[in-house]
């Protein structure tokens, strides 16, 4: 373990610990994101009412509801995370440490991912209880797959929330930047989640999961390389 590598890891952990400690003390973001996700899935769930039990025949609807709620809740989380940095002076204190700035990116990524992990189970329960979505036999696979997608959403979201925080419109611009780039990931996530709701096997889901993993790798690599240019101030 070279000294540089230890410094790199410690910067990541320091940035992550800062945000997690803030959240544990204030307890404001996770409840907010959770309630927002549930309210959004409630409203979208009313599609079931108007079409008359379409959900029982069409699992795509429930996966779509799930992913829309996660996306909208994530916008809240990412905007808040970027605004904290902007108000506190823009991560200058971390820039003075002689490590690659991607350490700061990963440090911001970890709390964002953890917040989303913590709400996904509740949203699943909500959809299962209130909209009679089937309890999938492959629930472990389901949670694993949605976790992998959430990592990709968080990578793109962390990067673009930091970018949009520097514009005039602040966090309002984040969805316009984020959603077009996330569309391939969302399509793959909805497809894989709906296949797993239908209790389909690993062989059918694996194609979509491969796409999700490639997307995650590419977005994390690109975002960590370009993050340094975002902070040049």
């Amino acid at each position: 373990m070279s000294k540089n590598f230890k410094l790199y890891i410690s910067v990541i952990l320091a940035v992550a610990r800062k945000d997690l400690r803030m959240e544990l003390r204030n307890k404001e973001m996770i409840p907010l994101m959770l309630i927002f996700a549930l309210v959004v899935s409630l409203i979208f769930g009313f599609l079931d009412l108007s079409f008359g039990n379409i959900g029982e025949r069409n699992m795509d609807l429930y996966s779509g509801v799930f992913w829309i709620s996660i996306l909208f809740a994530s916008i809240l989380g990412f905007s808040r995370s970027a605004m904290i940095e902007k108000e506190a002076g823009g991560l200058v204190q971390f820039l003075s440490i002689p490590v690659d700035s991607s350490a700061v990116f990963f440090g911001k990524l970890i709390p964002n991912v953890l917040f989303l992990f913590s709400i996904q189970l509740s949203v699943y329960f909500f959809i299962i209880v209130f909209f009679r979505a089937p309890v999938s036999e492959r629930y472990i696979l389901l949670i694993l797959t949605s976790s992998i997608s959430i990592i990709g959403i968080a990578a793109v979201g962390t990067f673009f929330s930091t970018l949009s925080a520097k514009t005039n419109l602040r966090e309002i611009f984040l969805p316009i930047l984020m959603f077009p780039i996330l569309i391939p990931l969302i399509i793959a996530s909805i497809k894989s989640t709906s296949l797993l709701f239908n209790n389909k096997g690993w062989e059918e889901v694996i194609d979509w999961v491969k796409l999700i993993m490639v997307y995650d790798l590419v977005s994390i690599t690109l975002a960590s390389i370009l993050f340094e240019k975002l902070l040049d101030e």
Binding site: T167, P180, I181, I187, L230
Partner: protein, 241 residues
């Protein structure tokens, strides 16, 4: 038909007079040659290119749809190159060029997204479908529109140039995905007819004439528009400081 022809000629004459009177130097030649080549391209599309056996007249949109798509990919590639260049050199010229290429690229991409559905409706029966090529093309359009929006929402010059350079690099990732989407997935949109091995000989000569004249005129128009946009941008920069 006659009325259309006469009004087209009158509009062309007006544009010609405008170009000759108000442009100087290279822009004048570019403008005139854009006008002449566009007129020749239109003539060759309507009168020279033979009718396709299955699609007849709607197929002729191909001669506008395809070169516009090609030139928009080239434009976005140039945005990528000059964004990288700006991050390396921090010269305002590179940032301005990237912006000009992005604007004209979005213009031609919009043309693609308009002519595409017009062609699709008589042939496929629907204006739009969510196959891989159309979805990724729409994403491409949205990404570069977001690029232009980002530029308008930042006032500080250095920050605007740097952040839009980053977005220009990120968005280019989608261009190869759009191009190869017809080969990687089963799509309703046809696979490449011209850009493939043996593709050039598949097309009859008359169609080649129309296609490449249209391509040439689109390229000349592209260069003319980019130069114009660049000059306007330089002027705006001067005024701002």
């Amino acid at each position: 038909m006659n009325l259309l022809f006469v009004s087209a000629v009158i509009i062309c004459l007006f544009v010609l007079i405008f170009v000759i009177k108000f442009e100087k130097g290279l822009s004048r030649w570019l403008g005139i040659s854009a006008l002449i080549s566009l007129s020749w391209a239109l003539y060759s599309i309507i009168f020279i290119a033979k009718l396709d056996r299955f699609q007849s007249v709607p197929q002729k949109i191909f001669y506008i749809h395809v070169p516009s798509a090609w030139i928009s990919f080239v434009a976005f590639f140039l945005v990528f190159i000059f964004s990288l260049k700006y991050l390396y050199t921090s010269r305002s010229r590179d940032d301005l060029l990237a912006n000009s290429f992005a604007e004209v690229g979005v213009f031609f991409n919009t043309l693609v997204l308009i002519t595409g559905p017009i062609w699709a409706k008589p042939i496929w029966g629907v204006w739009w479908t969510w196959d891989a090529r159309l979805t990724t093309s729409l994403i491409l359009w949205l990404l570069y529109v977001a690029y232009l929006m980002l530029r308008s929402y930042i006032d500080d010059f250095e920050r605007r140039a740097r952040l839009s350079a980053i977005l220009g690099i990120f968005s280019f990732l989608n261009v190869p995905i759009v191009h190869y989407s017809v080969l990687w997935w089963r799509t309703l949109h046809p696979a490449p007819v011209v850009i493939r091995s043996g593709g050039m000989s598949d097309l009859p000569m008359s169609m080649h004439i129309a296609l490449w004249s249209s391509c040439f005129s689109v390229v000349v128009l592209f260069i003319y528009l980019v130069r114009k946009r660049y000059k306007i941008g330089k002027f705006i920069n001067l005024k701002e400081f």
